[in-house]
Symmetry: C3
Subunit: 182 residues, 3 copies
């Protein structure tokens, strides 16, 4: 009966702990048929490979959802964790509509992280774009955690997932996705 | 009996996995009375609306705790995830005592992200403060994950939760809070 | 039998939810012997103290693994959360091989965050390095979430955990580690 209340896991200002605890106890009971009706805590983990993107900021929400949507739909409430396996690119959440916002963000990153002859870097063996790429990666970060609500990523209307490629040479990028919830 | 050991979930350098596993098995047993005595894994999710704040950095720890403290108290060990639904503000953890630290941080953000006639932005339709706001949002991030220990957010003595409002026009901001633990 | 499939929790592009759910139901069944064979969801939390490090960026992956490796090995799939209890240092993930990358990152941070007589800060009571330290802490952040796969932190080949000490006076730093998974 708790499952019949959409408010339990909705993003509306209504707490769920008792509901969740009740659901949890039900799902952890000894009846498989009940467990089927009321899913218990689940973990899922997968490595996604994003195709090469040119240097700059790119909206990749749909590429990522294409890989995880069917699995997301199994979660009423939880968290999705994305972890980029690289140190010269980053993941961030920002505006999902106007590509100028992505271009301007790339302009900003190039403006504050010196590159080329004027740069003070010691680490230059991998090319002039490498050390700036490492710095940009720590500025924006390589990991995101996004709430899951009713089988969907619970982001704001204007939010999207960006892959920021900081190297000149486009390469495929790996993202470990971990889903956890009920 | 494991429940009687405060060390199990304390922040002292003492590991909990066996304790937690034991508790977990107990809670996932088939006796409801035991489940009542030893709570099992719980998920809770809620959307909080923070009232409009003027442009700048603001300490919002107490505003957030006011909304979640009763629910936090149900968790012995876990994680609290806060996710801001916007791309022109940010959440960060920083000093909780001297408001000068918040003012100086705002000074820094305005210093390194150009705004107005001198700025190179293409995205200007929403006003001169909009593109800088998006950049600042990715610099500090829109999401926080904080450990829960013994029913409280386990932060350092001088740590607090900041809402950084990067737009000139104050607007209410939504935060999705997800609690997960035992 | 699901336990016999290494693909279930591997980082290969193979989803695990059904496997996990099945495992979960097994582990939450009423047979302790099965629970021993198939561990259920676990939580562990510990506070690690990192010894004082000089101002700059430091690779601390091995220091942290020394404290958590035995416990990590109990998790097939999960997340490791690290939370620094301070506002004048940061945790970030970046290159794990060439110490020049750490030195250059420190050079960058000092370049963009003004310090000393030229700095516009109001918060100066704790020394000229204090306000810059707070700003750097919010730029890189005080918290990391890293996937756990097959008992190990699932990071990229070149990724490592950095402690960035932003104060001149080295002090021990506390990190709350929370492990959650199956």
């Amino acid at each position: 009966m708790l499952m019949q209340s959409p408010a339990i896991f909705s993003a509306k200002p209504a707490w769920a702990p008792l509901g969740v605890k009740a659901l949890y106890r039900t799902s952890s009971g000894d009846s498989n048929s009940m467990a089927a009706a009321v899913p218990g805590p689940k973990w899922a983990q997968k490595t996604i490979t994003l195709p090469p993107h040119r240097r700059g900021c790119h909206l990749v929400t749909s590429q990522i959802l294409r890989e995880i949507r069917p699995d997301l739909s199994e979660f009423k409430c939880g968290l999705a964790h994305l972890f980029l396996h690289h140190t010269s690119a980053s993941l961030t959440i920002n505006e999902n509509y106007d590509s100028d916002v992505r271009d301007d963000t790339e302009t900003f990153l190039n403006k504050i992280v010196p590159e080329g002859r004027s740069a003070p870097w010691k680490h230059i063996l991998e090319g002039p774009d490498d050390m700036p790429a490492h710095i940009k990666s720590s500025m924006f970060g390589c990991s995101l955690t996004i709430p899951i609500t009713d089988g969907r990523l619970n982001m704001g209307t204007w939010q999207g997932i960006w892959l920021c490629e900081h190297r000149d040479a486009p390469t495929a990028r790996k993202v470990v996705v971990t889903l956890n919830g009920i």
